[in-house]
Symmetry: C4
Subunit: 119 residues, 4 copies
């Protein structure tokens, strides 16, 4: 059964320092694909003061949830998100459900989930 | 009065270590049934790299909120969610309102609520 | 301008211990009334294993946001929410925007916002 | 591509103490403008027990995400949000996606994201 939306926006990305102990500080994008075919997904990133990075390609197999680390290189071309504020615009060929979260290790540990806007 | 939706998706489950002090690290699914009859609910779980676990049966009585610990065995058959990334797809015979949260005790204490997608 | 919805559900209330230092552990319900008249609001509470508490009366003046501490006595009759899992169903005579949050002081400090479901 | 809504409400603002170490305690409003033109935005603030502060003017360039610190002076006139509970009502001439978060440094570190209501 198809579940979700083809477009998701996460307005508040900002990669934290990794810190020194596991689990390391990071941000991640979780994508649920409940369809019967692979979800072909494009990520566009917006920044505060420079042009967007468009067209990052990722995929999620049918009937799987995948977790994409935003602090690792991402997409077919291996893009590294720079430090500072960014936003994620996700577009998929099939409906998906996405979630975005940060784990910050500066002084202990704090989670920061970012609400998704979907259409 | 019926309140809620019959389908909910939570995209970011990942059971944390329990830690050593109360309250122990865990994840939980809270379900509000404001209808006049029992909510008969099925949970399907999606994973990163293996086939889904489908058909976990739970129930919430009329006019109650129930909290299901995801780190305990769950459902009539007593299923244990494995370590690693998972997503929850909830379907109910009557409208319900659901919420999902994690409590992580690795280094102190951090809450992580996961947004629900509902239809 | 009217903004919001007349019904809100928060699925995951569970009053934490107060702890010993300010700000004390608590839960709170924030309600925005952007209308030109007072919002007359009823709260119904659902529990895990006992009958609901219905008909708690509160009000929010026109063009104000009010914060209701859920660990204090609440409503005209002075109701005290018991320990344990509960859910809040809010109904208002005019549209409002509501938010619900927990501050837990067991071992340092952790916020837990609870997503609202609104119709 | 236009993405988002022209009105957003955040029901739970309450500026935390700054604390003494970076990152300092604060609240922030993130706004994504994926349109081809500048988003001209007005913020109205509601309080618990005094009249609203209306008409704070901010702008977000085309194809950018901007982060507005709520603990700094804000808008063309340089308004300082007072201590205590407040709510934010955002109206934009073009659709935007907004998110609101708090970082509290009282005893370590805690994030508190505030759900947005949008129409």
């Amino acid at each position: 059964m198809e579940l979700g939306k083809k477009t998701w926006v996460f307005a508040d990305g900002d990669l934290p320092p990794q810190g020194e102990s596991e689990p390391l500080g990071h941000e991640a994008l979780m994508i649920v694909n409940n369809c019967g075919e692979t979800a072909e997904i494009t990520l566009d990133l917006l920044f505060e003061d420079k042009a967007p990075k468009e067209g990052i390609k990722i995929a999620v197999p049918a009937k799987r949830v995948n977790c994409f680390r935003m602090d690792f290189i991402i997409g077919e071309e291996g893009y590294q998100i720079p430090k500072g504020q960014y936003a994620v615009i996700l577009t998929s060929n099939v409906p998906v459900v996405a979630a975005f979260g940060r784990l910050d290790r500066r002084k202990d540990m704090a989670y920061y989930p970012v609400a998704g806007y979907s259409i």
